[in-house]
Symmetry: D2
């Protein structure tokens, strides 16, 4: 039977801290739709984590969290600027265009999933005209799809450029392990904080830094099919992850596992290993031998082969994979 443990960070289950928090939240009656004490407490914790007074809402899907956030920042006849290999551009089956009433994406190239400031400037300088969708928002993913992490100065430059051109900014904190507190200080508008890939049951946090967006946001969520009634079960995992610091500690563990794997890797590592992913150069016959040996991993958009670690990855599993990799070289 194929082993999927390194295929994605969503093949892992939920941290014990999450399951415990779900059980703890499961007592008595509670108001629905995020008006309950659990949702309030989880929102408080996220505000503290990000050092902000932003509004926080919980949804079940990262794709929906991104798409609804972007649709709140750009209109259908406008576009969102993003990396050409970003999740919103390549892995969400057109959800941004659907939630955004045909909203467009302007995709930019950039090394290891990072958008470089000059590339962004090139797009921002184009004149408005009725025949194309002018940029209204910038979507940034950190860590990137290639496991690289933007530095603080790098991201500040992008935000400043976007803001200077009148764009809104949507950071998608797809994995933990970097300085999330900085998000709140960057002047962004709506952030999405990934819960599921971090190690939770399905939950994502939408953080409305621009609080004018919170008007009728509940209606926006329900209209988009993202306002669940028993919302405490989307909120509770965050309590479990933040209160115990598991969100931070376990992300650091996943990142350490990726570095360990990179150290064992008999193939050329292509992208910086700054989060929980390792991308390598591997030819097709080798990948087939690896799969034949029982390890399932994906060839990614840029042609490299991707290995993902998660909160649940153990040193033993990494070492076992390392040995398997050496055997198929």
């Amino acid at each position: 039977m194929a082993r999927y443990a390194f295929a994605s960070d969503n093949v892992a289950g939920a941290m014990p801290e999450v399951i415990e928090a779900l059980s703890a939240a499961n007592t008595g009656a509670a108001a629905g739709y995020g008006e309950d004490h659990v949702a309030r407490r989880a929102a408080d914790m996220i505000r503290e984590l990000l050092d902000t007074d932003a509004e926080v809402r919980f949804v079940a899907s990262g794709t929906a969290a991104n798409a609804i956030s972007l649709a709140a920042l750009a209109q259908g006849h406008e576009a969102v600027v993003c990396h050409e290999h970003s999740h919103v551009a390549t892995d969400e089956t057109g959800a941004p265009g659907f939630f955004g009433a045909g909203m467009g994406l302007i995709t930019l190239a950039g090394e290891s999933g990072r958008i470089a400031a000059p590339t962004l400037q090139g797009v921002l300088g184009r004149p408005d005209q009725p025949h194309w969708q002018s940029p209204a928002a910038l979507s940034l993913t950190n860590a990137t799809e290639y496991g690289a992490v933007y530095g603080g100065a790098e991201i500040a430059a992008l935000v400043a450029a976007a803001k200077g051109a009148g764009l809104k900014v949507h950071p998608n904190a797809a994995a933990a392990g970097f300085d999330v507190k900085s998000i709140g200080r960057m002047g962004v508008d709506v952030a999405v904080l990934g819960g599921t890939k971090a190690g939770s049951t399905p939950t994502e946090a939408i953080v409305l830094f621009d609080k004018t967006l919170s008007r009728r946001f509940g209606a926006r969520l329900k209209h988009g099919g993202q306002l669940v009634s028993k919302a405490r079960f989307l909120a509770a995992p965050w309590i479990g992850m933040i209160e115990t610091r598991a969100w931070t500690v376990r992300a650091a563990h996943a990142n350490a596992m990726a570095r360990r794997l990179a150290g064992l890797m008999p193939f050329q590592v292509i992208h910086p290993v700054e989060a929980n992913a390792v991308f390598v150069d591997m030819d097709e016959p080798t990948l087939e031998r690896l799969r034949a040996a029982g390890w399932f991993v994906y060839r990614f958009i840029d042609g490299t082969v991707r290995f993902m670690c998660s909160w649940a990855t153990t040193e033993e599993a990494v070492d076992e994979l390392g040995a398997a990799l050496k055997a198929v070289v």
Copy 2:
């Protein structure tokens, strides 16, 4: 502090069987997006429950489940026929129109939330013309928003009329406690089975009786923000509820609690108590006294006051409420 226990069936937490099933599903790596063993087993159980070979998918929101199902049955320039007080018409913030690209609703009156066959026929007889949205699907809720339950013959007549006019049929099994096996035999197209209100953490099952609809349904879900990666946590609750028969037994309990409450009721009961709801005639000063006494319940669209029981409602709570009601008469 206000007591919300009778305000809705979604104020209750999750059954212990659900929490146990979540824990049980939380072992090892599993493929994402519903391709895992937990999702397969839950789907098998639902197929057995409904005596069908339909495709089964799990989503986190009932509103989304309905809206996506209806959007698969009718196009934007067409309409869905439903009761004027149905959840899709009154309580989903326009989600059907959003997921359905402006798809319309043709709302019909009918006693206690039930559509009568002649009323439906009146709409089906209208000629197609380009200036209105002709009906393409019929959405039925059982039990209705007023806690009434369609009889088998009644519902068969509606389905036959709809099918005879070329419409698709979408039953929304919002609460348990009636013969769900009959759904599969009625010739319907897509059913939504409510998990959350039945007593689960957020999960709803979309049952594709018309299997031609299953083509690219995963893409449809992801496009609509409803394909969660760790789908096992939407599937597992169904295993917990069906394997232990809790879905049926606890629904029967909720219905019994509603009957018990109806028996204690010092106000006129307006709608048939056939599921887990009791609707009564109560003037505003009385409702205010009840709220002042700490019991929060809603005045519904038709002007009656609604009391909802759930799997978690106890005899003691019903009796306590009964006493409170007598005190405010």
Copy 3:
């Protein structure tokens, strides 16, 4: 062969002034997409007609003009308040919901198509909540679908109430013959001025009183399929109609023809004859006799039978119809 001349005001052709203006505009090369001299001149004339400095854009369809205007005023999770028998609610095949990403309509009753201020207030007083689409805009039609005309004080009260509750206002000037200059002074946001029914080839003017809406409005139009390249042919008819005063004079004629018809009418006239329509009480056998005599007219939503006059209606035709009506009584 059936005579359709009184069936609608869109069965008439175009005024000679319009055809002449089309020919006059058909000289030499001109920039496309409304950037040409014809479009500029037509816009100037409309600004002068309405005594405003608003932005003016031309589209080919009244349904699209309304739907795109409303979509610029309300979001998908919000609603537009309108009369229950208004064109946007009953005769546009769901276009507002489509252009508005599932935007809802809150429909109000009101005599002869007019919304009364207290009825509007009833809706505006409802609290915001996530489960329904709260009102974000008010759409008013003048003359109404029943040929009644709002008085200045009446409409000012509606606009004031809407504005006081934070709504935007969209007047749809579906027929001429009333004081259009007043529109600009009312503080409305986007008006649609009907060209086609007034007697033009297909053209409608969108008047952006709120000039902040003009940002990227060309892109909004193109995104919605309403930015034609040879826009001068949508603009020229307005020059023909306004320069010659035909827009006003011929509308007055159509209204006079309706009054003449009302005077000849052997049936009870149900709605005020204040524009170009006459609605009467006529039973089905009589209507059938009228149709058998070769006159095709419609039974309207409220059960009355509608006769529409247009710029092209002659006194002779009215008198001939009058005689035919007497013959079928």
Copy 4:
């Protein structure tokens, strides 16, 4: 004052044959919404022109014609395959995504705007999966954006490949001058025939070869804001263009003017001159000199400079431009 005559084929006015047909159609009352005798006659003529029994509908905008046609062929969670520089991909402000509820575009490279069969095959071979929008339709433009024309065998191969993979096919006959009769024999589903650029006032014909699509197509058009009431004015131009053979003869003239211009061109002609466009290699200072000399033309997506001829282009204008070009080399 800048001369726009070669900037686009939509800067030209309408042929005299079109204006005459508009006048001829402007007699008496006619049923609205395309149910009139003018629309029927125009549709008959197009059917004869294309040797088909297809349904024909008229709309005012080419962007809308394409977007509505594509939305009838692919669902929101699916995609349309097209050339990366096609009008639908680069010049319609996201209209396909809007009309198609977030429908995606899969854009392919290809010389001079043509898609090569092997490139198409590469996309068709991809497995369906829920994380991207699988192709459901192929959109072909002939002549291409670069003025190249697909040969019959070439286009037959593309249609066969698409059909073999279950895709629908949408040819967009953006300019005349090639064998349009072949369209009907290719087994395509919905074609758009360009009227405006050919030399008409705004009108485009949607030709429904797959007649099952004609069910409720009027409602689809109205829902999308494309069913004008006085539809005879969108239909009449086709009568004027086809009856007099102006559509064919004047297209041949425009193409001849392009060849004449190519013959005079002192710059390298980059794409085949097979229709009414000439694309040349011109550096920026030279283009600026040309503009300074009063001739406005566009630099196109591929970096070349585009000159468009139209039905209205005269030999004298071509020769004058030729001289101007020589002067700025």
